[in-house]
């Protein structure tokens, strides 16, 4: 605000007045639902999750093995050359511990979330997922982890077919 301006507009609504229903409001709930088409690469990725495998794309020009898979390389701007599988193991690139739910309310059990660089993918190629079977205070950067899959009969072709990633012990694969 410039010191030349003496008054500034806006009428604040007190939270207490809102809660007490003293503020006239028009309420509305959108009803739209969506069906996102997964496309050629991600459809196959989801199908392969049912088989307990993680699909990646290969670009021979830049040499990258990309996960999540895609139909085109966004760097070379050409169709990818091939698809391959990467391992369901990797290491923690970064992580966070969430104490809040989607509506910003508090949860009892925190969720550990991480970017996991998968073995077999190009360096730095990671996916977002959860970490389990470990106290959040024990999680470390660079920690080796492995996917814990739902039983095959419960898989539905969703990223949640992997329940979470758990820490690997020294020497474990």
């Amino acid at each position: 605000m410039s010191e030349k301006i003496k008054e500034y507009p806006g009428h604040r609504i007190k939270t207490a007045d809102l809660r007490a229903g003293l503020v006239p409001l028009i309420r509305y709930k959108p009803e739209a639902k969506f069906a996102f088409s997964a496309g050629a690469a991600m459809s196959r990725f989801l199908e392969e999750l049912k088989n307990g495998r993680i699909l990646a794309s290969v670009c021979k020009k830049c040499g990258r093995i990309m996960v999540p898979p895609r139909t085109f390389c966004e760097i070379c701007f050409k169709p990818v050359d091939d698809y391959t599988y990467v391992k369901d193991t990797g290491k923690i690139n970064t992580y966070s511990v969430s104490f809040i739910a989607a509506d910003a309310s508090r949860v009892k059990e925190p969720t550990i979330v991480a970017v996991i660089e998968l073995d077999g993918a190009s360096p730095g190629m990671g996916i977002l997922h959860k970490i389990g079977e470990i106290d959040w205070k024990e999680v470390k950067f660079g920690m080796r982890v492995k996917a814990v899959w739902k039983p095959p009969e419960q898989r539905e072709g969703a990223i949640t077919d992997i329940k979470y990633f758990k820490p690997l012990k020294e020497g474990e694969e």
Partner: protein, 390 residues
């Protein structure tokens, strides 16, 4: 950069509303209040305005789809050339950039740039609106929230440089303190580093006092071509550099510790403004601070210091109003509030007032001639930068 026949563009007026968690005004009314103030400051009437640019973030906040169109009359756009720009959180600084090219191109002599957000419409919490920005296949089924992804970035930044939470908390302390002098501020507070470290943990390492609030508000600037600006004011503030850049949407595929896209945007703006040594030549900067770590992250991306060096500068007081490189003298998003697009625009207004010497109690100690405003957005991938000179 060659001038390609571009015309010099000045900011000649600015205005804004209060930033608050809930304001009674509709989005249109907020736009009008701030736009009217900016026009009055510039000594212009609406009929003098040739084009209008609107900047406003996802429709899901206001809850009006096509809200660019919805807000048009409050923004003064009736029967005028009008467009809405949107680049996520980067919108607030990208809006005057779009206004700049309207005028620099020679198409228009005057342009009103309006930024608005009414996040309180989204019920019960604006967090719900953020869900819809994520990849529906890879991210949403996991229950991702906006704070997760910033927490992941913050943690990586801390890890790579060995930065401690105490160092980052100093940014929140400084900005909330600065906001005590801002008449529109939503969360001006005198707090300590201890308060930040003891505040509720949301998504480690992000705590309650590391974060800016959600807000309603609007902020507006009036742009004019050189010949018009010189007729209207003795102290125009020139837009001498603009830059913008986006990185890959596959954010889990890139290095989160450093905002390379902000560097690209800054290089573009510095080149245009003829700036060779940013820390020496930038007198005051408003960098995007929706979280305290972002101020540090962005100082580094803007090359105002070396990578990993921003926490030390903050500790040494360099970024205080009386320091060598004052950062966020307004109080930033952490202190003034974060009505997304309006928050970025507030930063542009602040640099305008700082360079005119009109910032009152918030005026930085040094003689500020060159200022910078920056915003950041989309999925942690977008940078917009503007360089202004008195």
């Amino acid at each position: 950069m060659e001038m390609f026949g571009k015309r010099r563009v000045a900011v000649i007026g600015a205005g804004m509303t209060l930033f608050r968690r809930n304001l009674k005004e509709t989005g249109k009314e907020l736009c009008w209040e701030a736009a009217k103030m900016a026009l009055d400051q510039a000594g212009l009437e609406l009929k003098d305005i040739e084009a209008v640019v609107m900047g406003t973030a996802p429709d899901a906040f206001d809850g009006v789809h096509m809200k660019g169109e919805y807000l048009a009359d409050g923004a003064g756009a009736r029967k005028k050339p009008y467009m809405r720009v949107f680049v996520g959180g980067g919108t607030g600084v990208f809006t005057p950039i779009a206004g700049w090219w309207h005028v620099a191109s020679g198409m228009f002599d005057t342009c009103l740039v309006v930024a608005e957000e009414k996040m309180s419409s989204c019920f019960p919490h604006p967090a719900y609106a953020f869900h819809t920005i994520f990849d529906p296949i890879m991210a949403r089924p996991l229950g991702v929230t906006l704070i997760w992804i910033f927490a992941l970035e913050m943690h990586r930044y801390m890890h790579v440089h060995g930065i401690k939470k105490e160092q980052i908390a100093r940014v929140a302390v400084k900005n909330k303190q600065n906001a005590l002098d801002h008449p529109c501020a939503q969360l001006p507070q005198k707090i300590t580093v201890e308060d930040v470290l003891n505040s509720e943990v949301l998504c480690w390492p992000v705590q309650r006092l590391d974060i800016s609030p959600t807000s309603d508000g609007a902020a507006v600037a009036v742009l004019a071509a050189e010949h018009v600006a010189k007729q209207l004011t003795d102290n125009p503030v020139w837009i001498d550099g603009v830059g913008w850049c986006i990185d890959s949407t596959y954010w889990t595929n890139r290095d989160l510790y450093y905002p390379k896209y902000v560097e690209c945007a800054a290089r573009m703006a510095y080149k245009m403004a003829g700036i060779k040594n940013p820390p020496k030549e930038i007198d005051v900067a408003e960098v995007y601070d929706p979280f305290d770590y972002k101020e540090l992250h962005h100082m580094e991306g803007l090359m105002l210091c070396r990578k990993g060096e921003a926490p030390r500068l903050t500790e040494e007081g360099v970024t205080q109003r009386d320091g060598d490189l004052p950062i966020n003298p307004s109080g930033g998003l952490l202190g003034v509030g974060n009505p997304i697009a309006a928050a970025g625009m507030m930063k542009v207004c602040e640099i305008f007032w700082q360079l005119r010497g009109e910032a009152g109690k918030r005026q930085v100690k040094k003689d500020a001639r060159t200022g910078l405003a920056q915003a950041w957005g989309d999925l942690m991938q977008y940078g917009s930068v503007i360089i202004m000179r008195s």
